[in-house]
């Protein structure tokens, strides 16, 4: 440290670094979730389709992250007359 450094502005790189670390921690979770949701949706469809004929587009999976509680909401539209598939052993 020398005399001149007293007049210098505070360095900005540490601020950049901290902002990026916080932001990317959130963004990585968000993109990771979208993949998790896609996987969940696909597997849920497969399980239901084993027993009931359903429209793939009518299955909605939603994940809400709260501070105290998180919820996984699964919304499946079933046809009015359920064409049950024969049960398998």
């Amino acid at each position: 440290m020398n005399l001149f450094s007293l007049f210098k502005r505070k360095s900005s790189a540490p601020v950049a670094r901290e902002r990026l670390q916080i932001l990317l921690a959130h963004e990585r979770i968000a993109t990771g979730h979208s993949e998790l949701l896609a996987k969940l949706q696909e597997e849920i469809i497969q399980v239901i389709a084993r027993h009931i004929k359903i429209d793939r587009d009518k299955v909605h999976v939603k994940l809400d992250r709260g501070n105290d509680m998180s919820t996984l909401e699964i919304d499946v539209d079933l046809p009015s007359v359920m064409p049950l598939l024969p049960a398998r052993g």
């Binding site: 020398n2 001149f4 450094s5 210098k8 360095s11 900005s12 790189a13 540490p14 950049a16 670094r17 902002r19 990026l20 670390q21 932001l23 990317l24 963004e27 990585r28 993109t31 993949e35």
Partner: protein, 271 residues
């Protein structure tokens, strides 16, 4: 065994095309058979940086659509025999590229060359996806700047999920190329330094290219910097990076500010 390498970044203007030309030329100067492929359909520039803009007859899209043979579209570099360019189309749009067509052309290129280097367009749309699709190795070009680092992080996520290798459950080899690095500003805490970027992105470092006048001079002249100023600091960093891609273990030297006593005194006074 041929390797397909994608040079990508998410953000524009960080040095993808410059780095594609320099790494391609450096690998060729070391004796490998190299083709550089421009995937930036509609905004081609690799031809200009390579100094081949007046020799383009057919392009990637002509080959993908079967209007030209691969051999007709390839442009051999006038300075290095074993370096070729496959230009992008300037007039068509990116929808003219199909996944199957690109795969066929990449496979054909793999038979003729040791390295197939794909220069990705900026963004995360179709063109960028197709450029990374068949890659074995990715070079993520990043500037020590917040928006570039954020976009690189996003691209790394895509390399791990959207490439053909990733879909087969294999790992794609990823390397960080830090470009436009200003050692003085990093030392003064005005710019993210090498450790900051490495810690955030956590992929292995391929090289650090210092901010250099030689890079702009090289593109003015239409020559990869490793040919235009082979003894300069930027070219040396690219040569080392190319050797690391070839599997050699060479320590990365972090560029330092080189200044005499007077220079140091003055730079502090104006700061």
């Amino acid at each position: 065994m041929a390797k397909v390498l994608v040079v990508t970044s998410g953000k524009g203007g960080v040095g993808k095309t410059t780095s594609t030309a320099a790494l391609g030329a450096a690998l060729a100067q070391n004796g490998a058979n190299v083709v550089v492929v421009d995937f930036d359909v509609g905004l081609r520039n690799l031809d200009l940086v390579m100094g081949a803009e007046r020799r383009v007859v057919y392009d990637l899209i002509n080959v993908v659509q079967g209007d030209a043979k691969l051999a007709q579209a390839l442009i051999r570099d006038k300075r290095i025999d074993n370096l070729s360019l496959l230009p992008a189309s300037q007039t068509r749009d990116k929808d003219a590229l199909t996944s199957e067509g690109v795969e066929r052309v990449v496979n054909e290129l793999k038979e003729k060359f040791d390295w197939v280097i794909c220069d990705s367009p900026a963004g995360i749309e179709k063109g960028a996806m197709l450029a990374m699709r068949h890659a074995d190795v990715a070079v993520v070009v990043t500037n020590p700047e917040v928006s570039s680092v954020r976009d690189s992080d996003r691209i790394i996520g895509m390399l791990d999920s959207k490439t053909a290798k990733a879909e087969k459950g294999e790992r794609i080899e990823k390397h960080l190329l830090l470009t436009r690095y200003d050692p003085g500003r990093a030392a003064r805490g005005e710019m993210l330094n090498v450790e900051d970027v490495l810690e955030i992105l956590s992929i292995p470092l391929l090289g650090i290219i210092p901010e250099s006048e030689e890079v702009l001079r090289a593109s003015n002249l239409g020559s990869p910097v490793t040919l235009a100023s082979p003894a300069g600091t930027a070219a040396k960093a690219y040569f080392d990076a190319a050797r690391r891609l070839g599997g050699e273990k060479i320590d990365v030297v972090v560029p330092m500010e080189r200044k005499g006593f007077l220079g140091r005194l003055f730079s502090r006074r104006v700061a």
